[in-house]
Amino acid sequence: MSGASPQSPAQAIVIGASAGAVQALLAILPALPASFPLPVLVVVHVPPDRDNVMVPLLQTKCRLIVKEAEDKEPVVGGTIYFAPSDYHLLVEADGSLSLSTDEPVNYSRPSIDVLFESAADAFGEGLVGAILTGANHDGAAGLKALAEAGGVAIVEDPAAAHSQAMPLSALEACPTAAVMTLDAIASYLSSLGTAR
């Protein structure tokens, strides 16, 4: 169940962020150690016409491989995948990734709900998900699905978030989620996959 202590070993991390995402991700992703064994899948809302600026920026700051997710590629540990702008990112049951141009969900493409719900299906109890800063409600349903599938649900502390609407609605949908500051999320995630 939720609360930040996994029942079974974590297999993958999903992260969703919107307004204020750059600073929030910079507080988390560069902190992950070079030996980090899990894949990290990230949806950030960016304007559709803008190329994903996040990938080149984080490539220079992270110790892990950072890339834009490609259609049907298998997820590999120690890699951070970003949804390309204007495409949804989904996880298939066999652990490969799919992109889609389905309608926007919560006015968003990529949508955090779409990633989280499909990842919850694929990884079940092995999934850890975090909803960070944002000014909309995307991710709330996804985090709920993740918790219902037995994954670990985390929400950035709304009081400390750049924009609190997204963390607040995630908490409302998933009240059992662990509330953490960005620093706490960074050190919690870093500890995953190392011997417990």
Binding site: Y87, S98, T101, D102
Partner: protein, 274 residues
């Protein structure tokens, strides 16, 4: 309801659709299919996907409603303008050397891509020697494509895309606006054949100089993508061109060796001869 049961219901529904109606979604990327079938179940008011299966097996009028969920009709004129610019600047100069041309728009949806190519070919003086085939598996989408009528509030984006693609004319030359709709000119579809054709279950039907199949194969699993790409290769004339969606590629395909990267960043390939 346990997820495993929903997954099983989906498996059975797809099998039923195939056996009863010959629509084969069994090897589509499952995560997106699942999302859309769950949505269909909830929005159409069924308690379970099995109940939906029961209905569609016994009532063919349910099929189009389900097809609207199973196929994704999202399109735009001159979507990814740089793709159309690359066709204009790099591919059409080659096509100009042929006395007659065949172009296949596979998965043409509601027609936006068809009209975009028709306009591009008109602007470059190739329209009159070209025959276009626009194919899809969704009959309602095909009918909409043939009608060529779009909501007026979409035109601004279409116009912007057309300009960015290097358009030499004004988009407004090609439609008339009435009652909140833009009705595209009949002359654009004079040389277009609209027809039902599935990349999953149907075969080669003509020899093409250019095939544009965008944002269709991302809905397929790997083996099905390979089938479609093999079909494209077999359909292309010597040195024919294949254009894919901006997030699709031949990189992982079994047929990758059958093509060369013609305009790398734009997913435009050229048939390579053995």
């Amino acid at each position: 309801m346990p997820e495993a049961v929903v997954d099983l219901e989906i498996q059975l529904l797809l099998e039923a659709l195939y056996q009863r109606y010959h629509y084969d979604f069994r090897h589509y990327a499952r995560a997106s299919i699942k999302r859309r079938l769950v949505q269909a179940r909830d929005q159409l008011g069924y308690a379970t996907i099995s109940a939906m299966q029961d209905r569609v097996l016994h009532d063919a009028s349910m099929l189009p409603r389900l097809l609207d969920y199973l196929t994704v009709q999202v399109s735009e004129m001159f979507r990814d303008p740089t793709y159309f610019r690359a066709l204009r600047e790099k591919v059409l100069p080659h096509l100009k050397t042929y006395p007659s041309l065949k172009v296949w728009i596979a998965g043409s949806s509601t027609g936006e891509e068809v009209y975009s190519l028709a306009i591009l070919f008109k602007e470059e003086g190739l329209y009159d020697r070209t025959l276009f085939y626009a194919t899809d598996i969704n009959p309602e989408a095909l009918a909409a494509a043939e009608a060529g009528v779009y909501a007026l509030d979409r035109i601004r984006k279409f116009t912007e895309n057309h300009q960015k693609s290097g358009g030499r004319s004004s988009l407004s030359d090609y439609y008339t606006a009435a009652y909140g709709r833009a009705v595209f000119d009949k002359s654009l579809r004079e040389r277009v054949v609209f027809s039902d054709h599935s990349l999953v279950t149907d075969a080669v039907f003509a020899e093409m100089h250019l095939i544009s199949c965008r944002n269709v194969m991302i809905y397929f699993d790997r083996p099905l993508q390979d089938r479609a790409i093999g079909l494209f290769r077999d359909s292309l004339a010597r040195k024919g061109f294949l254009g894919l969606g901006s997030k699709e590629s031949l990189r992982f395909s079994a047929h990758a060796g059958g093509f060369s990267d013609f305009v790398p960043g734009e997913k435009i390939y050229q048939r390579r001869e053995p």
